[in-house]
Amino acid sequence: MGTTAISPSRILKDLDALWLSLGEEQQHEPPVSGAPGASPVLRACAMTLIAVVDTDDVTVGETLAMLVRSHPSRLIVLTVTSGDAPSLQAGVTAQCWMPFGKRQQICCEQISMSASRVSLQEIPPVIRGLIVPDLPVACWLRGRNLIQTPELDGVIGLADKLIVDSGGVADLSAQIGYISTHEAGARRVCDLAWTRLTRWREAIAQLFDDAVGAERARRLERIRIEYQGAHVPMSAYYLAAWLRHSLARSLKVEIVRVGDFERARVCSVHLAEQATDVSITVTTDRDVQLHAGARDAHTVFPRLSEYELLREELSVLGPDSVYESVIAAVPALLAESEAAPS
């Protein structure tokens, strides 16, 4: 891969040509039903989404193709290539789909760029010129090896929302530090590890909806979170911090490893008071047992794909005060864990 001068105006020209060719292709199709003037191709765009990926990432395309149907975007896919030699490349394509039973294609434009690490600092001015005006900008840092890459700070600086994924991250202190650092000014940071907890949190909340639950919430004394995997998952600390934050009390927290799993995950939450206890346990991959006092119930936590997690996150473009409180509380929990006798 060599170095090519890439400029926003050149890419925007390529996009114009792309739309023209999409329109021409469709001119040969039978006319779209509807009123006169109905266009055969519909351009949809509600934000700019920058996806920063590793060079060997082969599944991101599928996720983005699904995602633009929920959140039509101008996609900018930045692949960070390996190697030390400077390299820059860019090209444009369209993500199109035909809604079932319809004859009008809906398309989102995609700009693909690749840059080696040493060339990354040249990228922000290019992306700045490609951002769709007046619409939000989200940056999804997908590459596992890209967290803690200072060369990307310029790209991240363009975004209103930064999306990371702490699932699988072992160094939790460094990760929390990274998230806190980038939550600057109007920019929000979100973590897909937190998004995965929405179903857990909803299930817990549901157990405290009635008067008995309310009374029980006031008496809770201990939190025990069980996980499987080689290291404590960030989600365990997120849950603990959220429970403390919600109850506005410093309850005793125990985070305990109970088995192996290929990727560290929370498998059970126990909230205990003197008389009864409340627990939520994943019994198999998806089946969940809810227990509150004398009552048991089942539910299912749907297996969420990365696309579904992103869809939820991109629906929350404003402040997420609960997550912000959780982020603020996690360092204290980590410090408590380190201080506790092993």
Partner: protein
């Protein structure tokens, strides 16, 4: 404890959830329960929006055990639930809370048994004494059920609990019967406990009219007589009465569609901005609009309302029966299977703007939409010879599509590429489904959650129901006393010629949706 005081609630992320409660369905062996209510409840269970102790008590005259009722409802979920996989465990959890008690609605013992069942459920499933009654029976039973609930003292909740009642449409078959029903309800339930359902108001796209109008600043300044020349609301069905001939010949399009659904849509399109998106304020504004509809004299009815009835026809090689040939229909029925009305609104915003509303069966296609037609540009500089492409193309048009292909389209003029100033209309198109790419909740899911959580914003109110009956009352009076020359439109058409003439008198024409 209210959901908002649950310390674990997260309004940014969590869907609205229902507190522990029980739902009592009168008419549980009917079509609505099978096709809409139970599939909606399953979907809510699938999305974890029902509380663990949630219970349903079904009632109808048919004898059935709890188990038979559960089996029947399971079949209904399998047959009528769309876009949601069937999960045995979720169904089993929901099904353990399903109970059935048969009984004659005129028998006081029926309510005593239901009361005993509810007390048992309150204890075993910790529903907290919270109960939603759902009237899904024939409307002729409504008063008996309300009376029975009152006698059994089921309408008044204990400490901290709530009792509500959902009343399905039709709310009466005319103004007088609507008032009779409305007079019977307050003897047992307070108005705040009553949820009159009009499922059109629960449709996402109808709710989106409010978001469109009051969430944006660019449309509302144009939303008045100075910029809008007319509004057309169309609710067309391609099917006929589909085995409901006996019912439909007593109802007709004016009663079945215009008096309720379409006047509610009109009120949503034309109401003043509410101070807050709350039940009281939104419904106040809708009610004000409905009360502002100018009442017709009998002479005005003849100029502003058209009745139609479809005749037999062949469409695509298939012979379609006329309405009078449908099963259960009187061969001389005077029923309107099509109705079109020109309403006007007596207020400053809408004075002089006609609201053309039409609904019919066996029309060209199934479509419900609202077309806002703006005034033409006051002067067109683009005339070449005798041809003015701007006036040929018509004025700006904003179309709010309710179904199918929910969305919003704005038609405006653009220059055709090339030399010369030739204009052509183009569309700016927002498609609800493709822009959000996610499943929209069915109207009954939305409305059930609303009733179970005590949000009446999307429900109608006594004054709204009576105002909409008052708007159509003169038309019903004239039509009842007029022998109409039916059939007067062919199946597969857009309705009778007289309907086109009604608009033609004002220099307008129906658009083809």
């Amino acid at each position: 404890m209210t959901p908002s005081s649950n310390p674990f609630r997260d309004a940014t992320r969590f869907e609205r959830r229902v507190r522990p409660c029980a739902l009592v369905i009168f008419g549980a062996n009917g079509d609505l329960t099978k096709r809409k209510l139970i599939p909606a409840l399953y979907r809510l269970a699938y999305e974890h929006r029902l509380p663990p102790g949630f219970a349903v008590v079904g009632n109808s005259r048919t004898e059935m055990t709890h188990e038979q009722f559960r089996d029947k409802m399971r079949e209904a979920v399998l047959e009528f639930t769309e876009e949601t996989p069937f999960e045995e465990k979720i169904w089993n959890d929901l099904a353990t809370g399903l109970y059935y008690d048969s009984g004659d609605l005129k028998d006081a013992g029926c309510y005593t048994r239901i009361k005993a069942r509810l007390q048992e459920i309150e204890h075993s499933r910790q529903t907290g004494g919270n109960i939603l009654f759902y009237l899904s029976t024939q409307p002729s039973h409504y008063r008996a059920v309300i009376h029975g609930l009152g006698v059994a003292n089921l309408a008044k909740p204990g400490n901290g609990a709530w009792r509500r009642i959902v009343v399905e449409k039709p709310f009466g078959h005319d103004l007088a019967s609507a008032r009779e029903l409305d007079d019977a309800i307050p003897r047992v339930f307070n108005e705040e406990q009553v949820y009159r359902i009009d499922h059109y108001l629960g449709k996402e796209t109808v709710q989106n009219i409010l978001a469109f109008r009051f969430g944006n600043s660019i449309f509302e300044p144009l939303w008045n007589r100075n910029y809008i020349s007319s509004v057309q609301i169309t609710a067309a069905e391609s099917i006929g009465v589909e085995g409901r001939g006996a019912y439909y010949q007593e109802a007709g399009a004016l009663r079945d569609m215009i008096q309720n659904h379409l006047l509610q849509i009109m009120a949503t399109v034309a109401m003043e901005p509410p101070a807050a998106f709350e039940a009281q304020t939104v419904r106040d504004e809708r009610a004000k609009l409905l009360r502002s509809i100018r009442p017709f004299t009998h002479d005005e009815v003849r100029l502003n309302a058209v009745a139609g009835q479809y005749g037999p026809c062949r469409v695509g090689g298939q012979a379609l029966a006329g309405f009078r040939e449908e099963s259960g229909v009187n061969p001389e029925a005077q029923t309107d299977t099509y109705a079109a009305v020109t309403f006007t609104v007596d207020n400053w915003r809408w004075a002089g703007v006609p609201f053309y509303i039409r609904s019919g069966k066996r029309m060209t296609k199934r479509v419900t939409d609202i077309a806002i037609r703006f005034h033409s540009a006051p002067h067109s500089p683009f005339q070449t010879g005798n041809h003015d492409s701007a006036s040929w193309a018509g004025p700006n048009l904003l179309v709010l599509r309710v179904q199918p292909e929910e969305g919003i389209t704005l038609r405006f003029l653009s220059k055709l590429p090339g030399s010369g100033m030739k204009l052509r209309p183009v569309e700016m198109d927002f498609k609800y489904g493709s822009s959000f790419g996610m499943r929209s909740p069915a109207a009954y899911e939305t409305l059930l959650v609303d009733a179970l959580t005590g949000d009446a914003t999307l429900y109608t109110r006594r004054d709204m129901v009576e105002a909409s009956w008052e708007a159509v009352h003169p038309i019903m009076e004239v039509w009842q006393n007029t022998k109409k020359e039916f059939p007067n439109y062919e199946a597969g058409s857009w309705g009778p010629k007289a309907s086109d003439e009604m608009l033609g008198r004002r220099g307008h024409s129906w658009r083809v949706p």
